[in-house]
């Protein structure tokens, strides 16, 4: 379960940054980039809190 959550979180981060790389190389539209970033955000915040441990200092 943890592994699946981590994988989804990783996909969330990839969707946050990779579309911007494609916009930069002119292989993706700007609108699609913003949509994918939002999906990435939802994936990250929907999964990361369940596996990320608190590092209290």
């Amino acid at each position: 379960m943890n592994l699946i959550l981590k994988l989804l979180s990783f996909i969330g981060l990839v969707l946050t940054v990779f579309p911007a790389v494609l916009v930069f190389t002119e292989n993706l539209s700007f609108d699609m980039h913003t949509t994918l970033m939002m999906v990435g955000m939802l994936l990250w915040f929907g999964t990361a809190p369940f596996w990320m441990k608190e590092k209290k200092l």
């Binding site: 969330g12 981060l13 946050t16 940054v17 579309p19 911007a20 790389v21 916009v23 930069f24 190389t25 002119e26 700007f30 980039h33 913003t34 949509t35 970033m37 939002m38 990435g40 955000m41 990250w44 915040f45 990361a48 809190p49 990320m52 608190e54 590092k55 209290k56 200092l57």
Partner: protein, 465 residues
């Protein structure tokens, strides 16, 4: 309901772990904890503004990159060679170490000044978050020239954001700290992605074109009308002293007291180079792409859509919250009869009122420099007291050992250093960004001189402070 209130009150009245005693060996942390903490702490809402203000002040691309490398490196060295050795040796928070050196009354005075500074800092973060919250309601955002509240809509938005942040600071600070940890990897990538996505608008479609466009269209070397021109030295000193209160001022003793060895101070490089360096570069690119707009919510939305605007809200919120909480704790030292939630509520209200004035955000660079400068002299006092006083045949922790509540050697060092810095500023016209360096040497000399003058042969103290 009563039980819930009791539980909240118990939480509010609890103190941090090992706040009043050295951190025990088995609670010390390794490199990973510090790398993560520093990287997260230095990717905040205000980074959106700082990078943009560099552009507005007409920094050239060469000066920006070289200045950031040198300045951030000096900041890392300050953490590693000044703050970390003191923190590892004492394993106490700044406040408790100050109390031993300066006495209770002077420590409280320092706490109040620190709390006021925290209020201004949190105010800037609330303003940053409000620039994103106001977007869907089409509220006009303040510009570079705006000092006073620009509209009723702006004030209402700031108050809404301030209210939410204050309520969360009262009730659920722990959750925000956890949320901030979770948010950091995503926020960091949003900064990078947003900048990458707008580069084609500026005419960059391959890495080889970046440097030419950076010089001609982003960091052009031309300041906005009415703003001073920033040079290489401005960038060096700003990036070195942006966190002066934390390294030279010793605030980060609270964090680095958990370090196993002083070398862990070098972990601050994660915050300086992944946080400040990249985030400031990114926000500069975003500002150039937004044709000079500085409202962080707007420039993030223009480059990353809804996710960008939410990133600004989260970045502002997660950094304003602990700041209001810490300010509340600091004010509580002078209002012991007030409940912690009342003090935090009062702090939140003051902070929100401050946040209504865009002057704070638009002059953030000056404020950040001033903040570090005001707290710096006490950092010099702590460094000397902990690391060098025995070599100078002086008594360290003088207030604790002599039973005094106000160590005049330390107090006068603080006041005289700031007075002399003000003199240098007014008489020689030295800008606030550069005053920290001469100020530190002034503080060192004054504290040694006054300690020689004030310290008397000690009788054994009857009661520790």
């Amino acid at each position: 309901m009563n039980e819930l209130l009791n539980r909240i009150e118990a939480r509010l009245d609890a103190t941090d772990e090992y706040e009043r005693e050295p951190v025990p060996e088995n609670k010390l942390k390794g490199w990973r904890a510090f790398l993560g903490m520093y990287a997260g702490e230095h990717t905040a809402g205000t980074e959106f503004v700082i990078g943009a203000l560099f552009v507005a002040h007409g920094v050239s691309a060469v000066n920006l990159v070289s200045g950031l490398v040198v300045g951030n490196l000096l900041a890392v060295l300050s953490w590693a060679f000044l703050c970390a050795p003191v923190a590892v040796r004492t394993k106490l928070t700044l406040y408790w170490q100050l109390k031993k050196i300066c006495g209770g009354n002077l420590a409280i005075l320092y706490n109040i000044v620190n709390a006021v500074m925290f209020c201004f800092l949190a105010g800037a973060m609330i303003s940053v978050a409000a620039t994103a919250v106001g977007l869907p309601f089409q509220i006009p955002m303040p510009g570079l020239d705006d000092w006073m509240p620009t509209s009723v809509g702006w004030v209402v938005t700031v108050f809404l954001v301030g209210m939410v942040i204050t309520v969360v600071a009262i009730a659920g600070y722990d959750y925000v700290a956890r949320f901030a940890n979770i948010s950091f990897p995503w926020m960091f990538l949003v900064f990078i992605a947003a900048a990458l996505a707008v580069l084609p608008d500026l005419g960059v479609t391959s890495p080889s074109e970046f440097w030419t466009v950076a010089q001609e269209r982003i960091w052009t070397g031309e300041p906005a009308p009415g703003l001073t021109q920033f040079t290489f030295w401005h960038v060096v000193f700003f990036s070195w002293f942006a966190n002066m209160a934390m390294h030279i001022g010793m605030s980060d003793m609270s964090i680095l007291r958990f370090a196993k060895k002083w070398q862990m101070g070098f972990s601050s490089a994660a915050g300086m180079f992944f946080g400040h360096f990249l985030a400031w570069m990114s926000s500069g690119i975003l500002m150039a792409a937004a044709a000079g707009a500085v409202a962080p919510g707007l420039i993030a939305y223009n480059s990353a859509g809804v996710a960008g605007a939410i990133c600004v809200v989260i970045a502002g919120w997660t950094t304003a919250n602990p700041t209001i909480y810490r300010a509340g704790l600091a004010f509580q030292a002078v209002t012991p009869n007030w409940k912690r939630w009342k003090v935090t509520l009062f702090t939140g209200l003051v902070t929100t009122i401050i946040a209504c004035f865009p002057a704070l955000v638009m002059n953030l660079l000056d404020f950040v420099a001033l903040y570090g400068l005001i707290l710096m002299p006490m950092g010099a006092v702590i460094l000397l007291d902990v690391m060098f006083f025995d070599k100078l045949n002086l008594v360290s922790n003088y207030a604790e050992k002599s039973g005094i509540t106000f160590n005049w050697a330390a107090g006068l060092t603080w006041f005289l250093t700031l007075g002399l810095c003000l003199f240098i500023y007014l008489y020689f016209g030295v800008e606030v960004f550069f005053l920290g360096l001469p100020g530190w040497f002034i503080a060192v000399l004054i504290y040694i001189g006054l300690s020689k003058l004030f310290q008397k042969k000690l009788e054994p103290a009857t009661q520790p402070v």
